[in-house]
Symmetry: C2
DNA sequence: ATAAACCTTAGAGTTAGCTCCAAGGTCAAG
DNA sequence: CTTGACCTTGGAGCTAACTCTAAGGTTTAT
């Protein structure tokens, strides 16, 4: 089955960004069109959509375009040497992702407690600000052992 | 017990950013020193450290300084009206945080599968790139129903 | 008492990530 | 066969978030 190809404007509209941004990503080496038609128009296939979704996801959680480019460039090969390199890079990124997950969970908890404290209940404003809410969700982490 | 107060340079070093950045955050209304000494030096207390940690966490997971400022400005009051406003704002942010959590989990899974595929095993390179790894972790979400 | 290591301000410069503009080619509809 | 909505390129402009520079005050150590 032949892949459906999308023009830049359609892809842009579908994923809610501008054609300019797509051309910018191409210039930055993040996303190249699957092909160009004879008149020079860019055409994107499903593979590019997947790639673009990944780019947007990663951007949303705070990765820079450069980091995303590195992630997309990763290739696990049979070559032992490059494999070890890739693994250590991936493991570093995993640490990073895990930290972000923890940060997000903390923020989520404080937002939840804020949302719950708000209105509705008879006991209004237990935690009045996000920082108080955050302190309320804190288990007890008092240490600064990482530089 | 009297709070320990920290000079700008000490705080900067402790949280691994520059004094310039701290002054910048002050100018942006994100973080004001607890007090100024007679010579104009800024002094920060534990409360400011907590606030700064929140700022850095939120920044790390992709919030802008402006969004962070709004989050820090939130106050649940007894006033019904403002309370509803706050709640809807907080709930929006919660949606946002939940999306980020999902994105991060997806990325984490693909990194894990990439790390596992790499070296070590007898079956090398099952998923060679992050996108293939990502596709491998996909349950089956084929729909574009939002916009 | 003077040098090193801090701190202050105001403002200029930098980088990332777009975003817009000008000048022009393409194509479907009427 | 032209009008309007697309697409192309190159390059200028913009905003966020720093980062640096200049000119100067303070504090501590010798």
């Amino acid at each position: 089955m032949k892949q459906t190809l999308h023009k830049i404007g359609d892809l842009a509209e579908a994923l809610n960004l501008s054609s300019d941004t797509l051309r910018y990503y191409e210039k930055q080496g993040l996303l190249t069109a699957a092909k160009r038609s004879s008149n020079g128009y860019r055409f994107y296939s499903e593979a590019e959509i997947g790639r673009l979704e990944f780019i947007l996801s990663a951007k949303k959680v705070g990765f820079t375009l450069n980091e995303i480019k590195q992630l997309l460039a990763l290739e696990v090969t049979k070559d032992e040497k490059s494999c070890a390199d890739v693994k250590s890079f991936v493991d570093d990124k995993l640490d990073d992702v895990n930290i972000r997950l923890l940060e997000l969970e903390r923020i989520k908890k404080s937002l939840l407690s804020l949302s719950a404290a708000c209105c509705g209940g008879p006991e209004p404003a237990t935690h009045c600000t996000i920082l108080e809410a955050l302190a309320g969700t804190e288990v007890s982490s008092k240490s600064g052992s990482s530089a």
